[in-house]
């Protein structure tokens, strides 16, 4: 096996060198550490000692020639050997990729109207887009007649009553009731007043023939919310081939961490819930498996840059909401706990904005609060996966061939098999487990 002699980088800023004198000839026998060649750089003149013993098979660079650092100077090997055509080590340069700017809002379409609209701020543009709003209908009370966020919100409220818009999907509707409720924390009981969002429902597509009537049957018409859920669930199942993979996680360190820290969080006025840990673990796992943070499209896989984790909550017959923690990867555990508390607080007082129940790139559903150990949740489109968190239960487990009692939880990841294969899904889920099991 031959050994390459390369032009060394003799100093931080030295990028090339000149061969001034070969001290050995082709065909000559060399001992390791023998001086082979003299080279000159702008920093230093020196000899290169041979890194190996053998025959100097081939000199690649003649005396007087200047080559870059890393270039092949000569090859040493066994007599008669044909030198391998091995590349000299490439120079590895560190390229810093500046973080991309956050997703830009869509450009504001010039709304045709009877008056110039003035400067449209980002949040006004966003609200207009989300609500299909013709801004020329909105009075501006800001400086110079500018349409402000308050103006838009006020307009939307009045529009609700006067001119109902088509019902948005249940996934995007702020609803009543409790947020993603962790096992021990109960929010104030009762269902707060509903948000005024009654809208006519599009009739569902014709389904299969009705079942044969049996004596004593009672017809219970579906609520608009239930019809939407039904439609959404079917659509999700029909579009994505659903596969669920299940792993379990030992939450001993998470429980310990929470015990040690929740008092400090309480003093600052908010609850440290188990949900925060699951969100943090998913955000970390998504960073390791970015393909999970994506959506299917006909043109190709849409990889989302922000990691927005939705927490799905179902309330029996009523409605489904998915409040979203935006940019979960940029938040510490504390930040996530805060965000969850904040969303909960605002859900309770009906101050959740449309933006806050929209835009998830991954979803978690805590079906465990009702005692379910593990389940096969349905994907919240257009995500490509959903993590179901089961009940946390102390179970006997085997550790180092002894039985220990640990707080265990089953994690069921349902994924869209068009996009992900089992290997990645399992890799992702293993990472979630790893983060939880190694919590510090």
């Amino acid at each position: 096996m031959s050994t390459n002699i390369i032009m060394p980088k003799l100093g931080e800023s030295v990028i090339e060198g000149t061969v001034t004198k070969w001290l050995k000839q082709e065909g000559e026998q060399i001992q390791e550490m023998d001086a082979l060649v003299e080279i000159n750089t702008d920093k230093v003149d020196t000899e290169i000692p041979s890194p190996a013993s053998g025959t100097l098979l081939k000199i690649m660079v003649p005396e007087g020639a200047t080559v870059s650092a890393g270039a092949l100077l000569a090859v040493i090997g066994s007599p008669g050997e044909v030198p391998d055509n091995v590349h000299s080590p490439a120079m590895i340069t560190q390229v810093t990729i500046p973080p991309e700017a956050g997703a830009a809002t869509r450009p504001v379409s010039a709304v045709s109207g009877s008056r110039p609209l003035g400067f449209i701020s980002p949040v006004v543009a966003k609200l207009a887009h989300e609500n299909n709003l013709d801004l020329s209908q909105v009075q501006g009370s800001g400086e110079g007649g500018r349409i402000t966020k308050k103006d838009v919100l006020a307009y939307l409220e009045t529009r609700q009553v006067v001119n109902p818009a088509p019902e948005p999907a249940a996934w995007e509707t702020p609803g009543d009731g409790e947020l993603f409720r962790p096992p021990e924390i109960q929010f104030a009981g009762g269902i707060p007043g509903k948000l005024n969002l009654t809208r006519p429902v599009a009739p569902p597509a014709a389904g299969p023939a009705p079942a044969a009537a049996l004596p004593g049957d009672v017809l219970k018409p579906f609520s608009p919310a239930r019809k939407i859920i039904a439609e959404r669930m079917s659509a999700s199942k029909h579009s994505s081939p659903h596969v669920t993979t299940v792993m379990e996680a030992d939450l001993k360190l998470v429980v310990a961490h929470r015990e040690a820290n929740k008092a400090a969080f309480e003093r600052d006025g908010f609850h440290l819930t188990f949900s925060a840990y699951f969100v943090a673990a998913c955000a970390a796992a998504i960073k390791a498996f970015p393909d999970v943070n994506s959506s299917w499209s006909a043109e190709g896989l849409v990889l989302h840059r922000p990691i927005n984790i939705g927490l799905a909550v179902s309330l029996g017959e009523e409605s489904l909401i998915v409040p979203v923690i935006k940019g979960a990867d940029g938040l510490s555990l504390l930040g996530i706990a805060r965000a969850i508390n904040d969303l909960a607080e605002r859900a309770r007082s009906q101050r959740l904005l449309p933006d806050e129940v929209h835009g998830s790139t991954f979803t978690i559903t805590n079906h465990g609060i009702s005692g379910s150990l593990f389940a096969t949740p349905i994907i919240n489109q257009p995500n490509c996966a959903i993590l179901g968190v089961g009940a946390i239960q102390k179970r006997p487990v085997v550790i180092d061939d002894a039985i220990a009692i640990r707080p265990m939880v089953y994690l069921g990841l349902t994924f869209d098999h068009r996009i992900l294969d089992g290997a990645i899904a399992d890799g992702f889920l293993s990472k979630v487990v790893e983060v939880l099991e190694n919590w510090i």
Binding site: I5, I6, M7, P8, K9, L10, G11, E12, M33, K43, V44, D45, T46, E47, I48, P49, P51, A69, G70, I440
Partner: protein
């Protein structure tokens, strides 16, 4: 002061291992296999002598980047050094975050140091203060080049140690050059030891090429410090036989004749000659030591070249104490 034959042989072995390791690093650099090396060639007697005068593992050390031989005498192995030269994962001084020869070894109480010179001296004063507040009998040795005694940091450290009679030994390794600047450009006195009297502590100039003289001088200073009698400034006088580092070309500022002249006082030569004369070492034992050193170093190079680099993720922590990963 009697130094047993066994200890003398140990001392020589440590100097030899450091020297051969050092030479190997230069060769690897010239072969393009490592990016940077800063040498202790010429410093071995001073550094190994000092290390042996301490209670290793008990006393504290705040070294600088030229202290390879001292580190070897403290248990820093050729494998450790090769891993750090190549920036491999888990290398013990910094996990690949620092340039090579920025030493740290917690289990031997060697504190991590940086590149701005003399900063370690103030830390040594702080460690000395803590030792004194704890009423313990440990000492702390801090080493630096003679150029570093021009830094304000050094004066403030020595001042503190003198005011509070802290158990600190300031060992100035005067090798006559701070990169290209000779001693006269760094101080107006002829010996760094002379700076001590102005600050109120004893200053001693010692032949840094003589390991026995160094051992004795540091031992005396250690005894003073350990018994609450305060700090000492020791100037070990020697010669820097290589350029400042692998990035330096010393032909720009000193003659080859000067370098050749000083090679006659190579501490390896001085030590070997003395120990051959007293029969502590002979041709056979020297040959055995050379073979042993070469084998260890060869293995270390192979080991380190095969070892993996850190994962990119390791670049982002530990910024704060809470991010330190244990186990």
């Amino acid at each position: 002061m009697e130094i047993s034959t066994d200890m003398q042989r140990e001392m020589y072995w440590n100097m030899l291992l450091s020297r051969r390791l050092d030479e190997r690093a230069w060769a690897l650099h010239r072969q393009g296999r490592i990016a940077f090396h800063i040498s202790a060639i010429g410093h071995e007697a001073a550094q190994v002598g000092a290390a042996f005068a301490l209670r290793r593992g008990y006393d504290w050390i705040a070294p600088y980047y030229r202290d390879l031989a001292m580190m070897v005498a403290l248990g820093f192995t050729p494998r450790h050094f090769m891993l750090s030269l190549m920036g491999k994962r888990g290398e013990p001084t910094s996990g690949g975050r620092q340039m090579p020869s920025h030493f740290s070894m917690r289990n031997m109480n060697v504190v991590s140091h940086s590149a701005p010179v003399a900063t370690q001296c103030v830390h040594a004063a702080g460690i000395g203060l803590a030792i004194k507040l704890h009423k313990e009998d440990k000492v702390v040795l801090t080493s630096l080049g003679e150029g570093s005694t021009a830094q304000g940091e050094w004066y403030e450290a020595v001042n503190w140690a003198a005011i509070h009679q802290l158990p600190v030994i300031f060992m100035v390794e005067n090798n006559m050059y701070a990169i290209s600047e000779p001693m006269e450009k760094q101080m107006a006195v002829k010996s760094a030891a002379e700076k001590a009297c102005g600050l109120g502590l004893p200053g001693v100039a010692v032949d840094g090429t003589n390991i026995f003289a160094m051992y004795e001088a540091v031992k005396s200073a250690v005894d003073l410090a350990r018994t609450g009698q305060g700090p000492t400034l020791i100037e070990a006088r020697m010669y820097r036989m290589t350029p400042h580092s692998s990035d330096d070309d010393d032909r720009a500022y000193r003659s080859r004749a000067e370098v050749e002249e000083h090679k006659k006082l190579d501490p390896m030569l001085v030590g070997r000659t003395a120990m051959e004369q007293t029969g502590v070492l002979d041709e056979k034992s020297l040959a055995e030591l050379e073979t042993r050193a070469k084998d260890i170093i060869d293995e270390a190079v192979q080991y380190a070249e095969k070892a993996p680099y850190p994962d990119v993720i390791e670049g982002s922590f530990p910024v704060y104490a809470e991010e330190v990963r244990h186990g």
